[in-house]
């Protein structure tokens, strides 16, 4: 089942950034840190003290192909007692443990590194564990990631996402290793810095779900897979030949050239990876290498 057909759909979350040039120059994370420094950080939507002692109203998407009463997708309302620091994940866990043990979602680490609890919260892809209730307007709508098959409730089928990740040969391929027992490959600090952000991907699929192009072209590699290719193509420890092989993979018909620089992936990435920039940089590299493009 596709969420697009069956589920009452929020307006699409993709918005072009106001000034793409600016976005390219500065990552959302840099921007956030800078704003913070200048005391301009966005105020919380709701003052936490106003919520204390109250309940939070969440509307959770429900669907189960097997259970008659849940075959028709719907939203269930839960009223969860608020506690300071409560996140969206805390709220759905409370609802599950106290009210309805059949409420189903993936979650594990609770600290934004396992990547399993990306949901569509109030119309935006977010990690449940990292999203504060006090930052959201109520009632809070919690839905599975759009453009993915729904397995049950908030659980989506990740197979397609994993297939795309695997399609870029996501593993280090330098076979010519230094000799000597404990001799490592040298990597400059600058080069590590260059690939650093790309290595932070937690495979949550928020970016893929936010991408208009991926929604329309099932074969498009998508931002996460292209970022994975970037991670290796830009690592100086792999040699030029392998780099060219990697560029050939991403410059194929359903690769980097499909990206229309809408920045929606960069906007939603919970690890602040400049995904759109990485895609653009691979386009430039492919042009420089004089590879055929579509």
């Amino acid at each position: 089942m596709s969420t697009q057909q069956e589920q009452p759909q929020e307006p699409e979350s993709q918005e072009a950034p106001e000034d793409p040039e600016m976005r390219g120059a500065e990552s959302p994370q840099d921007k956030r840190l800078k704003e913070k420094e200048q005391g301009l950080a966005q105020e919380e939507t709701v003052d936490e003290s106003d919520l204390e002692g109250k309940t939070v109203h969440i509307k959770v998407f429900r669907y189960d192909p097997e259970v008659e009463a849940k075959q028709e997708p719907r939203f269930d309302d839960f009223h969860v007692p608020f506690e300071k620091g409560m996140t969206v994940l805390d709220a759905v866990m409370y609802a599950r443990d106290e009210f309805d043990s059949s409420l189903t979602f993936r979650h594990s680490c609770r600290q934004a590194v396992c990547g399993s609890d990306a949901f569509f919260v109030n119309g935006r892809q977010q990690l449940g564990c990292k999203t504060q209730i006090s930052d959201l307007e109520q009632p809070i709508r919690i839905e599975p990631l759009p453009h993915q098959e729904v397995v049950k409730d908030l659980v989506v089928d990740m197979d397609h996402f994993y297939d795309q990740m695997h399609a870029v040969e996501p593993y280090f391929q330098q076979e010519d290793l230094p000799e000597g027992d404990l001799e490592e490959q040298r990597q400059s600090r600058e080069n590590r810095e260059k690939v650093k952000m790309s290595t932070r991907c937690i495979w949550c699929a928020a970016c893929m779900s936010s991408c208009n192009i991926a929604a329309g072209d099932n074969e498009y590699l998508g931002p996460a897979a292209i970022n994975k290719a970037y991670r290796f193509a830009m690592d100086e420890r792999e040699d030029e030949e392998i780099k060219e092989h990697r560029l050939r993979i991403v410059e194929q018909e359903h690769g980097v050239w499909r990206c229309q620089t809408q920045f929606s992936c960069t906007e939603v990435c919970p690890k602040d990876i400049p995904l759109t920039e990485h895609i653009q940089e691979l386009k430039r590299e492919a042009v420089k290498k004089n590879l055929k493009f579509w």
Partner: protein, 612 residues
């Protein structure tokens, strides 16, 4: 039924490393994991990998620090193997593309960690575990190793022989979380458990919700003893509201702990006059709680960890991830204010009793990583020693299971000639008596099956019946209620500071949990992605594991490493240089002991007073 040579249960650091090694040794290898590999909790490790890589350092120093850190409860052959293999195995990760932090000359960087005499912690920012996990998963993909992800392993399949040493592990029974299908997995050569820690036995933990001690409990019920379970590490710096970990790397880089009076209490009150904040974890955790107990804590709950003086550049270079964690989960900007921290359950030093090759006393059953106890950590694990354990012993278990000769092990397992029986301990309740749903135990039906296929079929039928029973039952108790009660009891009574009376209270509550579990049911009627069913299985495992932790804590009437007892605040080398072993025997736990091996290759590690 599925069939492979080697089946690895769990896909974190140890599981992936074991699978790669078994595959390289020529075995047809498969990984069965309840999570997709990249979701594993190894990804949350922050600090680094200890390995003697640099000139001026050597494996003997690493081994010495580890023996001392363990409070002389680690086995020297295991510790020396760890220290000897770690450098090679760490560089292998680099060769696989691991993005380690670098020095100016392009070599991998190393930094100081608590309890280390040399800065030998190799790291990748403050997200070493994330990179380690992803790099190893990449290698699994590269090699085309079969992964059954989101398959929950429910039980091990072994024979019924009365002595566990005579039993053979034939495979596992698992169910496909997505479809609810229960199937047998036959392992022709071996099963390797790499299921991680049991942190969910406590309610304030740095562990993921998936860390439910599944491997511990399955091995225990199959007859392999659990070793040194009372040794639970409480990490000194977890965020108070969520338990999210703040890496020891912060103190390694020079972060300072202050009490509410602004005093640098590690020195001010003499907890560790030489090492200060970099004393080992048990020392720092007790110091923090003592400060809070004596009224010098912030808001009577926590202390402050300050890294502002390190400067923005250094923080962003080496600890950037910490800034995000403090901001996202506690609303604190580590660049402008100190971070609130308190001790949280973090790591289980004990685990399934194995030798240096990862083998348990059951033939064909292996364990590696946090679920195993080799033992290298003894009473207290040093920061930076968990990740080398994964790669060193994961690799060894994989090679051995695939049939490689690694030489005879020096460490014994199971109930052998070297064990000593239980001294009289008065238990408040007969812990295992109530038992759990009896269909899950070994030989519950008194059957006569001895061939692998017969055993597997029987085990699959048992699990299918158990699932049907849980789902057909219309009311009773839900697992979440039992789990919450268990977690609270453990945190209240089997925490950093322990008393005999408190532990007895915990054991009584655990017994109640066992009784309530008899009446457990699954409310969700669906076979599709039924997390209610999965968590009901996990809760049963947590009951078994919690019981062994509390039992071990009750019988060990001394103070060693992370195990502090109010009644005995001294280490008692005369009586307690021995491992606690608990095995599941005819429906109840039985306790016995094995002496610690302090003799290494060339020297004996003489127990000394541990001061920092």
């Amino acid at each position: 039924m599925y069939e492979h040579d080697v089946i690895v249960v769990g896909a974190g650091g140890a599981g992936l490393r074991a699978a790669i090694a078994a595959h390289e040794a020529g075995a047809d290898t498969a990984i069965v994991s309840k999570l997709h590999p990249v979701r594993s909790h190894t990804g949350a490790a922050e600090g680094g990998i200890n390995a003697a890589l640099q000139e001026g350092d050597d494996w003997e120093l690493h081994a010495y620090d580890t023996m001392k850190g363990s409070d002389y409860l680690a086995d020297a052959p295991a510790v020396e193997t760890l220290a000897q293999d770690a450098p090679d195995d760490t560089i292998t990760l680099e060769h696989w593309g691991m993005p380690f932090s670098r020095e100016e000359d392009g070599r991998v960087s190393q930094r100081p960690f608590g309890g280390l005499s040399y800065p030998r912690t190799t790291y990748a920012g403050a997200e070493t575990g994330h990179h380690l996990l992803h790099v190893m998963y990449e290698q699994v993909v590269k090699r085309g190793i079969q992964v059954y992800d989101e398959w929950y392993v429910m039980n091990l399949v072994t024979g019924d022989e009365p002595d566990p040493n005579d039993r053979e592990c034939e495979g596992v029974v698992a169910y496909d979380v997505q479809s609810g299908k229960v199937e047998g997995f036959k392992a022709n050569q071996g099963v390797i458990l790499a299921t991680g820690g049991p942190g969910q036995a406590f309610d304030h933990t740095t562990n993921a919700v998936s860390c439910t001690g599944d491997g511990h409990a399955m091995a225990y019920r199959a007859g392999a003893p659990l070793e040194d379970m009372e040794f639970i590490q409480f990490h000194p710096t977890s965020l108070p509201s969520t338990g999210v970990l703040i890496s020891e790397g912060v103190r390694g880089e020079g972060g300072i702990l202050y009490n509410d009076d602004g005093e640098r209490f590690m020195f001010e009150y003499g907890y560790a006059n030489n090492s200060g904040e970099l004393a080992s974890r048990d020392v720092v955790a007790r110091a923090e709680l003592t400060e809070v107990g004596e009224g010098r804590g912030v808001e009577d709950e926590y202390v402050h960890l300050d890294m502002r003086h390190l400067g923005e550049d250094r923080i962003l270079d080496r600890l950037e991830n910490i800034l995000h964690l403090a901001e996202d989960f506690e609303g604190v900007d580590g660049l402008v204010e100190p971070m609130p921290v308190k001790p949280g359950q973090h790591y289980a030093m004990g685990g399934i009793d194995v030798d240096e090759n990862g083998q348990t006393c059951i033939n064909g059953l292996y364990a590696a990583g946090e679920c195993a106890c080799v033992s290298v950590h003894g009473g207290n694990r040093l920061g930076g020693n968990a990740l080398p354990e994964l790669i060193v012993f994961g690799k060894r278990a994989g090679r051995h299971a695939a049939g490689e000769d690694l030489g005879a092990a020096e460490i014994e397992t199971g109930y052998g000639d070297d064990v000593e029986d239980e001294t009289e301990t008065e238990l408040p309740v007969a812990p295992g008596e109530a038992g759990l749903d009896s269909s899950g135990g070994v030989a519950a039906d008194g059957g006569v099956a001895t061939e692998a296929e017969g055993l597997l079929e029987r085990a699959v039928e048992q699990e299918r019946a158990r699932v049907d029973h849980l789902m057909d039952k219309d009311d009773g108790v839900q697992h979440a209620e039992i789990r919450a009660k268990l977690q609270k009891a453990m945190t209240d009574y089997v925490n950093v500071f322990r008393t005999g009376d408190g532990i007895r209270k915990a054991l009584k509550i655990i017994r109640e949990c066992r009784e309530e579990y008899q009446d457990v049911y699954v409310d969700d009627p669906s076979r599709t992605f039924n997390t209610d069913l999965q968590q009901t299985y996990e809760t049963r495992n947590l009951i078994d594991v919690a019981e062994t932790i509390a039992l071990g804590a009750l019988v060990r009437n001394e103070f060693r490493g992370a195990h502090w007892r109010q009644e005995n605040q001294e280490r008692d080398d005369e009586n307690w240089l021995k491992h606690t072993l608990i095995s599941w025997d005819d429906g109840e736990p039985s306790i016995f002991y094995r002496p610690v091996i302090l003799e290494g290759e060339d020297k004996t590690y003489e127990p000394k007073i541990r001061s920092y």
